[in-house]
């Protein structure tokens, strides 16, 4: 995993960045480091400031406070043309009156390259984005996905040190989006170019990024690998925004115990004081059904709870079940594998025991609790 430390200094270093639009703060105290060759994703709901941060890095809309360093060079107040990056927008922004070749060659001109050298580079780039035959067409003659690949070729033509992508896939239909996801990721790996991509689509972020920066209301909520973000959300917002998460009211007991309804569970150790109201969270796929005739190795009674199935929905590879339990005074969603459902003969109304693994049960402050 790419990490920055003293020997491997950050390629891109953002320090205490703020951005104000009039009285509105779009970015609040953003600090972030990106290592060379890393693929980082800014992920968050629409309007949280992702594009604003990207545009600050690009120098297109400078920050109000704070500094940005790229390759140990302070670029905080350099105009875009003096920075070193290529950029791709959701709208492709291809020049409509220039052929595909001229679009790709656009940044190569005026740099002292010979015509033949430019031609060779354009051929190479068209090959790279897998559109070698389309050079003489115009943008309007290509599909959206093809246009976005051309935009990508144009952005990397000059071999920039940093590639910025602002929702590059959001304007495409679902199928094209998935295939282009892989193409971009592969291209990035092949070129080794440090890449920052903005997206509001968590699946996109999780599948493409080396590291994800989750943002909300102009602040960074959490930075981590996709797995860290998913398995160990730092905040309730991250837990809720990434994937699906059960949230139930509970009351903290000792340092690693929580009471939900009338049942007491072991959970991840927490810093809440006893009797404090909390939210206990567990992902649907982490809830384990206990099969009656085959007793679990660890103390099952400890984490188990009696539930019955209130509703079931077949989702292809698994079942989504709503588990109701009077003892929990609420319900939980669980993903039950096809196997388990068949073996245990589960259907709506079935009673069963489920276990909430202690290392998957995490407590957060209850935002609705009146303190």
């Amino acid at each position: 995993m790419l990490r920055t430390d003293d020997e491997n200094p950050a390629f891109l270093k953002i320090n205490a960045l703020w951005k104000a639009f009039g009285d509105f703060l779009a970015l609040k105290d953003i600090s972030l480091e990106v290592a060379e060759g890393e693929f980082v994703c800014f992920l968050g709901p629409s309007g949280c400031g992702k594009t604003t941060l990207l545009r600050a890095i690009a120098g297109l809309d400078p920050q109000t406070r704070g500094t940005i360093e790229q390759s140990s060079r302070d670029i905080s107040n350099l105009p875009p043309a003096q920075r070193d990056y290529g950029i791709v927008f959701q709208s492709y922004a291809l020049f409509p009156n220039l052929s595909i070749r001229r679009n790709v060659a656009y940044g190569l001109e005026n740099a002292g390259h010979s015509r033949s050298k430019i031609d060779a580079r354009v051929d190479e780039l068209l090959q790279l984005v897998d559109l070698p035959e389309q050079g003489n067409k115009y943008p309007a003659q290509l599909s959206g996905g093809q246009q976005q690949r051309i935009a990508l070729a144009r952005a990397i033509a000059t071999k920039p040190g940093l590639l910025l992508l602002d929702e590059p896939l959001s304007a495409l239909d679902a199928r094209v989006r998935v295939s282009l996801r892989h193409q971009i990721k592969e291209l990035q790996r092949k070129l080794g170019v440090t890449t920052v991509m903005v997206t509001h689509d968590q699946e996109e972020g999780l599948s493409m990024a080396d590291r994800i920066v989750v943002m909300n209301h102009g602040r960074i909520e959490q930075v981590g690998t996709p797995i860290q973000i998913y398995r160990d959300p730092d905040t309730l917002f991250v837990a809720d925004f990434i994937g699906e998460m059960n949230q139930v009211q509970g009351v903290a007991e000792t340092a690693d115990r929580v009471r939900i309804g009338e049942v007491s569970f072991n959970c991840q150790s927490h810093g809440f004081s006893p009797d404090e109201k909390v939210l206990a969270t567990v992902r649907p796929e982490d809830i384990v059904p206990i099969e009656r005739d085959h007793s679990d190795q660890a103390d099952p009674a400890d984490q188990g709870v009696e539930v019955h199935i209130g509703d079931m929905e077949f989702l292809g590879s698994y079942w989504k079940a709503r588990l109701d339990s009077p003892r929990l005074s609420g319900s939980l969603n669980a993903n039950l594998s096809m196997n388990a459902v068949r073996r245990m003969e589960l259907s709506v109304g079935s009673h069963l025991q489920v276990r909430l693994p202690s290392d998957r049960l995490k407590l957060f402050a209850n935002p609705s609790a009146v303190t």
């Binding site: 509105f24 406070r65 105009p79 409509p96 940044g107 001109e109 005026n110 115009y138």
Partner: protein
């Protein structure tokens, strides 16, 4: 304390180092702002300050001493005031002078002879008193001693003060105030008639399945190609003292409100028709389908869907027409007779009576309704733009025999009216002597034998139109580009946008007069422009700046905003993007701007009538002057020359546009 102030850490705002592109673009904006300042704001300021400058001869300001024949001064001081009271040199009327007022000092001394050995001393009581010694300006309370030959050249000048006296005088002169009522009356009536006629015409084009729609559309646009005074000439031929159809007038005279209103309807018709057509074209077909499915009657559908849907278009058309009529000068000049209107008053005050201050006052009075109409139109247009983006389904009329026939008949009548006006002018231009000798002849085209500038005026007009189209398009489009695409520099851009909208609110007569005040001032370093072709180009570009600017902005707004970002990220200079992408993509709009400027430069009269010189006489002004001099047929001939030139320009424009579209079809439509 706002939330921002408490949360945002203290410190300086991060500002980007400006690259050479930024400097260039800002410099260019500053340049065009400067241009608009010089060509618009400063002249207007000069005019406004002129309207509140009053001049009064204050004789108590001047004092004299007279010596005896030996040149000895007794020391007696004579006040000019007392002298005047004693000898009655100047009447009260004569003391009420304008800015050019000059009183000879010798008039106070009935015995004065320039050969006498008597000497004179003259001074002002303070520094505000001004007198001239020949052309040399003197002020102040120290005595100036002169022999009688020198004293002959002493001229007293009025004191200038600032105040509303000119306005008081204006509003206490009934003949001038009457013009306000006349102007409002003419504009209101013309507006009602034009909007009604244009609405029906646009409705027929949009909602019927009649034939020849393209031809009707073309004919309806023809009035734009001629000066507004041309219909006046045609109306004189038809209904004037020797008119073919004089009987129709039943004793009423065409010279006056009838003529002005009829001519105004002619020349404002295409403007109203264009606006209303756009408004009708964007109304949503789905509403009509709903009405049909509810079996709503045609009549009710019309009042509940059509009219409300087109309301912004109707209001906007009304204010545009109102503005055009109230600010028009050519038509009432030709056919107004004794019926005075504001725009002609300005001309009469300035050209006829050389009363520049009063001309400025009338200009200010005319500015008020013009600005109001302009402001309301802007607000309404903004609303309509909001509607435009929301609407989607285009209405497809279904054919109905009776309705279509009726529409065809109506449009034919309008077409006959328009073509008739043009046809009469052409016919009158080609006959020997209307209405007595109707044999054909080209002698009315011998412009060189008439007053007005001759064929040179026609060539000047083409030169003016060409230069205006070229420089205007370059300035307007580049300016619009810079102001749309520059980052930051908010103050400069806001100022620019304000100045770019201003010309539309300024009547041509007002602009022209303002130019006189500003450029004819000998202290102005730009004074050398006065009387040249350059000032005509400057004035015309400025006069028609707003519409051109809006056309450019609309085209630029349709381009992806990220082009500039991509360009910068690829380290390319802004002018490369401008030349290789922005200009080619906006070429249709650029051509539209240039033809608009060309046609208007050919037809405009109001601003340039104050500014042309003998070497820069213009065809449109020649029409006015020849008509004024009684050479009506040559005036009609010249007017039609303007028409044909504009038709030719439109054909060239259409050809170019089609060529551009064909060339760009590859990348535009897919």
């Amino acid at each position: 304390m706002s939330k921002l102030a408490t949360e945002l850490p203290a410190g300086p705002r991060v500002r980007l180092v400006l690259g050479s592109d930024d400097w260039f673009m800002r410099g260019f904006i500053a340049l065009i702002v400067l241009y608009l300042f010089v060509a618009l704001a400063l002249p207007l300021y000069a005019m406004l300050s002129k309207s509140i400058s009053t001049f009064r001869m204050d004789l108590t300001q001047f004092q004299f001493q007279v010596s005896d024949e030996t040149g000895f001064f007794s020391g007696d001081i004579l006040s000019a005031d007392e002298l005047n009271a004693a000898v009655g040199a100047y009447s009260e009327q004569e003391l009420n002078v304008g800015s050019g007022g000059r009183l000879s000092a010798t008039a106070f001394f009935p015995d004065f002879s320039f050969r006498s050995p008597v000497k004179y001393r003259v001074r002002g009581v303070d520094d505000s008193a001004v007198f001239l010694l020949g052309s040399e300006r003197r002020t102040g309370p120290s005595w100036v001693e002169l022999d009688s030959n020198q004293f002959r050249r002493v001229v007293l000048r009025p004191v200038t003060s600032v105040g509303l006296d000119n306005f008081k005088r204006y509003f206490s002169t009934p003949s001038l105030v009457q013009s306000i009522k006349n102007s409002l009356f003419i504009a209101a009536i013309s507006t009602v008639i034009t909007v009604l006629l244009a609405f029906c015409f646009a409705y027929a084009l949009n909602r019927s399945c009649m034939r020849f729609k393209g031809v009707f559309r073309l004919i309806a646009m023809a009035p734009i190609l001629v000066p507004s005074l041309l219909p006046g000439i045609a109306l004189v031929y038809l209904f004037g003292n020797q008119g073919l159809l004089k009987a129709v007038m039943a004793g009423e005279s065409i010279y006056g409100p009838y003529g002005i209103i009829a001519g105004s309807v002619f020349f404002t018709f295409p403007h109203a028709m264009l606006i209303i057509t756009t408004a009708l074209a964007i109304s949503d077909a789905r509403l009509y389908e709903a009405a049909l499915s509810l079996r709503t009657s045609r009549w009710k559908t019309f009042w509940t869907i059509t009219i409300p849907g087109a309301r912004y278009g109707l209001i906007s058309a009304a204010f545009v027409v109102f503005n055009l009529v109230i600010t028009d000068f050519g038509l009432p000049k030709v056919i107004g007779g004794q019926y005075n209107v504001l725009a002609v008053d300005i001309y009469k005050q300035v050209i006829g009576q050389q009363n520049f201050e009063m001309g400025a006052v009338v200009s200010v009075v005319l500015l008020i309704p013009a600005m109001l109409a302009f402001g309301i139109d802007r607000i309404v247009q903004r609303r309509q733009v909001a509607l435009l983006s929301a609407r989607s389904v285009v209405y497809q009329p279904s054919s109905s025999r009776i309705f279509d026939r009726f529409c065809l008949l109506y449009c034919s009548l309008i077409a006959i009216f328009i073509l008739g006006i043009l046809g009469i002018c052409q016919f009158a231009a080609l006959v020997k002597f209307w209405p007595y000798d109707l044999s054909l002849s080209l002698r009315n085209y011998a412009f060189n034998r008439m007053d007005g500038g001759g064929w040179a005026a026609y060539r000047n007009s083409i030169e003016l139109a060409g230069l205006t189209a070229f420089f205007g398009t370059v300035i307007v489009f580049t300016g619009a580009y810079m102001v749309e695409k520059t980052q930051g520099f908010k103050g400069g851009r806001t100022l620019f946008q304000f100045l770019a909208m201003l010309p539309m609110a300024i009547p041509g007569m007002v602009l022209g007069l303002a130019y006189i005040f500003f450029f004819n001032d000998p202290d102005n370093p730009l004074n050398f422009l006065y009387g040249t072709m350059a000032i005509l180009v400057l004035c015309t570009v400025t006069h028609f700046y707003t519409v051109s600017h809006l056309t450019a902005v609309t085209a630029l707004k349709q381009m992806d905003n990220e082009f500039e970002s991509v360009n910068a990220s690829l380290k390319q200079p802004f002018y490369k993007l401008f030349a290789r992408v922005s200009v080619p993509v906006c070429l249709p709009a650029i051509l539209d701007i240039s033809i608009y400027l060309f046609v208007n430069a050919m037809t405009t009269v109001s601003a340039v009538v104050f500014l042309y010189s003998t070497s820069t006489a213009l065809a449109s002004v020649a029409v006015l002057n020849m008509d004024d001099a009684g050479d009506v047929a040559p005036a009609a001939a010249m007017g039609m020359m303007i028409f044909y030139t504009n038709v030719a320009a439109r054909i060239v424009h259409a050809g170019l546009s089609r060529g551009v579209l064909r060339r760009t079809q590859v990348w535009r439509h897919h």
